[in-house]
Structure formats: C-alpha cells, structure tokens
C-alpha cells in the first residue's frame, strides 16, 4: 500500500464559543484522490483551514509525511508540499494572471525553476497563457477557478486540497476541470476535493469522508459511499 501523506487525528476547533469540529480523523495516502463530503456548515472548510494553518487547532494532531504540523508555521507548509486552494478562490484580483502565478511560486528561489513551473501550468491551462497580462479579477468564474488551481500548482505540491471546486461553475466547465485534475493527478499530485456535487465527485475519487455537524459520520471507498443511502441523508439532514 502507498505511503501515508496526511494524517489527521481527533481534530477539534471552534469559532469563539461555537464548536465547529468534534474530533475529526482522516488520512490521505500518496497518489490518492479523496473526497470530503457533507452539507453546508458540516466542517469541511474548517478542517482544511486547520490543516493549512489558517485556523488554530484546539486539540488533536495533523501529521504531514509523519511530521507534526504544529512545528511548521502556516506560511512554511507550502514548502513541505502542502497546498490549499481556499473556498473563496485564493487569487489576487488586482494582479495580472502572471503575477498571481508568480506569487504561487513565491517559494521557488531560482528564476529557471519558476520559469519551468510557469510553463508547466500554462501547458495545463492554455487560457491562462492567453490572459497572462489581464487582471485576475476580470476573468470569468471558470477562468478564475483555473487560475486558483494553476496558482496552487506552481509550487509543485505533493498534496493539493481544493475547497469547493465547482462552486458557481457551469456543468460543462466542471467536467473540463475534472479532466484537468485527472491530468494533474497523473503528474503525481495527491488530491483532496471538497464539493457539493456528490455524484460527480464520487465517480472521480478513490475514497471519501462524509461530514455532519463537525464530525465524520461515514467513510469508505467512493463506490460504496455513492451506493450508501446515508451519504445522501448527510446532505439533506440539515
């Protein structure tokens, strides 16, 4: 079996007095595609933000390649190969497309390395090359999502976590993005996907976890989750 990349144990946190996560445990192995499912407010984004270091962990541990992430400052986690594309699209609207990608490659020191990485991303998303001097804020929703994925890829992460991949996008665009993600996965990037589109996402992923009220209530192979009536219930339950 492949090596373990990410391991979350008994993760709990809150927003002020409001508890958001109650002991979430999950793991992601190298080269897997893992789905995080569940209705609005179930705790998926909060889990990802805790893993990335944007939200404080109150108890529990997060291990990346066996290393306790408490010892790794939030801005250093990208250097370990851990990248989150946040829910609200992690782009800089007033910068050009190319500047956005350069920020994505902020941790790359050598100019040649950055050029290679940019060329790789432009190869995956030719539309970004065509729009490279345009302000990111002027792109369409689909293009902005491609930019946020592209920006996350410049640092050539080991694990890419994508929050709400298809939010606000037309179904054709979602299919196109999933195709691109397949290609990215083939390039050796492990993926964690959060999406409301359960059917589509489960047909794409290997395994999944279903969140409900800040807890994981169901986990297993994607095909089993797709067949399980409780998966649907978790969405409609609220």
């Amino acid at each position: 079996m492949a090596n373990e990349l990410l391991r979350v144990e008994e993760l709990s946190t809150s927003y002020g007095d409001l508890r958001a996560l109650w002991g979430v445990s999950l793991e992601v192995r190298e080269n897997e595609i893992v789905a995080l499912l569940g209705g609005n407010g179930a705790g998926k984004s909060t889990s990802l933000r805790c893993i990335a270091g944007l939200h404080p962990v109150q108890s529990g541990t997060v291990l990346f390649e066996g290393r306790d992430l408490r010892a790794v400052k939030p801005h250093r986690r990208i250097r370990e190969g851990l990248v989150l594309i946040p829910e609200e699209r992690g782009i800089f609207p007033m910068m050009s497309v190319e500047e956005n990608l350069k920020v994505g490659g902020f941790t790359i020191r050598e100019k040649a390395g950055l050029e290679t990485a940019l060329a790789w991303v432009y190869g995956l998303f030719p539309v970004l090359r065509a729009r490279r001097w345009q302000p990111a804020g002027s792109l369409s929703g689909g293009e902005q999502q491609m930019l946020s994925i592209g920006k996350g890829l410049v640092s050539q992460p080991k694990l890419l976590m994508l929050d709400e991949l298809s939010l606000g996008l037309a179904p054709v665009l979602v299919l196109k993005l999933l195709d691109l993600l397949k290609e990215i996965h083939a390039n050796g990037v492990t993926l964690v996907l959060v999406d409301q589109n359960v059917k589509k996402i489960l047909s794409f992923c290997h395994r999944g976890y279903v969140f409900e009220n800040g807890r994981i209530v169901l986990e297993g192979k994607a095909a089993d989750l797709a067949a399980d009536p409780r998966t649907r219930k978790a969405y409609l339950g609220r």
């Binding site: 801005h75 946040p86 800089f92 910068m95 920020v103």
Partner: protein, 290 residues
C-alpha cells in the same frame, strides 16, 4: 507660474508623506497615528546631525532613512506584533496602540529635549532665477529627492519580489500565507518602509520648520488629507493627491490668504468624503499598491 512651481514642489513632499501613510493602511488596514511622531524623530535627527555632529545633508539623509527604517521595523516587532499575536481581530486594538504610541513619543521628546523649538539654517543657499521667477536650490533638491523616492517606491512595489509580497498581503491575506509569504515579516517591513519614507520630508523640511515634540501634527494632517483624497491604501492616488494638495494650498495662500493654507487640507478631506469617498485613486487604478 511661481505658485504652480512652488505647489508642485511642496506637492512632491506631501506625496511622499501620503505614500508612507497609505502604504500601512493598504497592507494592514490600520491607521498609524504615531506617523507624525516618526516625522518628529526624523526632524530631531536632522537637528542633531547639523548642530552637534555637523554632518553634510546627504549623510544626514541616509542615516535618518536607515535609522527610521529600523525604528519603524522595531515598533512593529516590539509593540504591534505582540498585540496581533494576542488578539485575532487586531485592527482596532492596533490603531489604539498607535494612538498610545503617539502620546508616549511626544512626551518622551518633551522629557528628553524639552518643549523648545529647535531650528537649523538652510542646508543650501542660493536660488535659481529664470526671468521673474525663482526657486531656491534647496527646494529644487527637495523636489528631486522626493520624486526619486516616489519612483523608487513604485519600482519596489511593481518590479521586485518584496513588492509582489506586499501587494499579495494587501489583496488577500490568507492566499498570501498559503503561498508561503510570512505576513509578520511583511508587516514589519511595511512599518520600516513607512518610517524610511517619512524620514525624507522630516529631514528635508527642517530648515522651514522647527523640531519640537508636537511637530508631527502638521504632516499627519497632510497624510490624512492625501490618503483620503487618493483612496485609503491607494499609493497612486496618494501621489496624485499629494501634488493636488500642494498646488491647491499654494494657490489658496497666494490668491486668498496665507491664513487659509492649512484649511485647504480639511476642505479637501470634507469634499472628498462627501462627493467621492472611494478616493480619486480608484479612477486611475484598481490596484492599491503601485
């Protein structure tokens, strides 16, 4: 013509003052009420540079820039960082800290130097005369240095990796962290840069002012006016705003009365708040920094 030239010269100074102030707002969304006191410290540095150490202007300027960078950087690290670490919603608490800092620095100056008005003679004598209008060499030099500073800050913001990081933090803080940018370093550098910028007018204006504990009240008023005019946190707007304020003040002083000069900054602030609260900088660029 004479008024216009004088207005543009003082406008360049206001632009530098405004950029140093708006930069901090653009990146941290805070107002630095101790900004005028950084000007005050630079003015004292110039006074002692001239009277005690008898240094040439260029050396005073470079030393003041370096010292004020370190002071700005140090203030962030020593006073503001601890507050940011303790309080997640730190914007208002940090603004209060800068207010406290303003009072502390003013009183420190009062204790150390007394309330005396300390002045220095002109750095350079003589003026350039063309036909019936004249500009002192000192003002020409001031204009040149301020314009070079503005060009420098624009290059820094637009063409360097540090500039990219400053822009990233100003536009989307979380995304900047996720990209590997250390926001604590960015904030401290931003305060350092702001101190460096205000030190330039602090030194160059000294022959026209005095060094005294509350001398910072004048520049911070201009900084407010210019920043509001250009749009909070908008660097290009602050540059335009600085020049417009300089020209407007000089024209008002020349054609109406010298008494109304300082009122112009208030008038500008009120007019912009009533008619165009987003600031004119938004007409030029949606990008805040540079």
């Amino acid at each position: 013509m004479q008024y216009l030239v004088n207005g543009l010269i003082i406008g360049a100074v206001y632009a530098v003052i405004g950029v140093g102030f708006t930069l901090i707002f653009g990146i941290m969304q805070i107002l630095n009420f101790a900004y005028g006191e950084l000007f005050m410290i630079a003015a004292y540095l110039a006074y002692f540079g001239v009277t005690v150490f008898m240094l040439p202007l260029w050396l005073i300027l470079i030393l003041a820039m370096a010292v004020m960078f370190l002071i700005g950087f140090g203030i962030e690290k020593a006073v503001i960082l601890p507050v940011r670490m303790k309080i997640p919603d730190w914007v208002v608490p940090v603004i209060l800290v800068t207010l406290a800092l303003q009072i502390i620095l003013q009183n420190l100056a009062l204790i150390l130097e007394g309330g005396n008005f300390l002045g220095i003679p002109a750095y350079i004598m003589g003026s350039l005369r063309v036909g019936n209008f004249s500009v002192s060499y000192e003002r020409l030099l001031m204009f040149g240095i301020c314009v070079a500073t503005l060009a420098g800050i624009w290059l820094l913001l637009r063409k360097t990796k540090l500039g990219l990081a400053l822009q990233a933090v100003s536009q989307n803080r979380d995304a900047a962290i996720l990209s590997g940018i250390n926001t604590n370093t960015v904030y401290a550098l931003c305060f350092g840069l702001s101190g460096l910028l205000i030190s330039i007018p602090g030194v160059l204006m000294m022959p026209h002012l005095y060094a005294y504990p509350t001398v910072g009240q004048v520049p911070i008023m201009k900084a407010f006016a210019v920043t509001l005019f250009g749009g909070m946190g908008n660097v290009a707007g602050a540059i335009i705003g600085g020049f417009i304020l300089g020209v407007a003040e000089t024209l008002a002083a020349g054609y109406i009365s010298a008494l109304v000069k300082d009122g112009v900054a208030f008038a500008v602030m009120i007019l912009i708040l009533v008619f165009y609260p987003a600031g004119v900088g938004t007409l030029l660029t949606r990008r805040k920094l540079g």
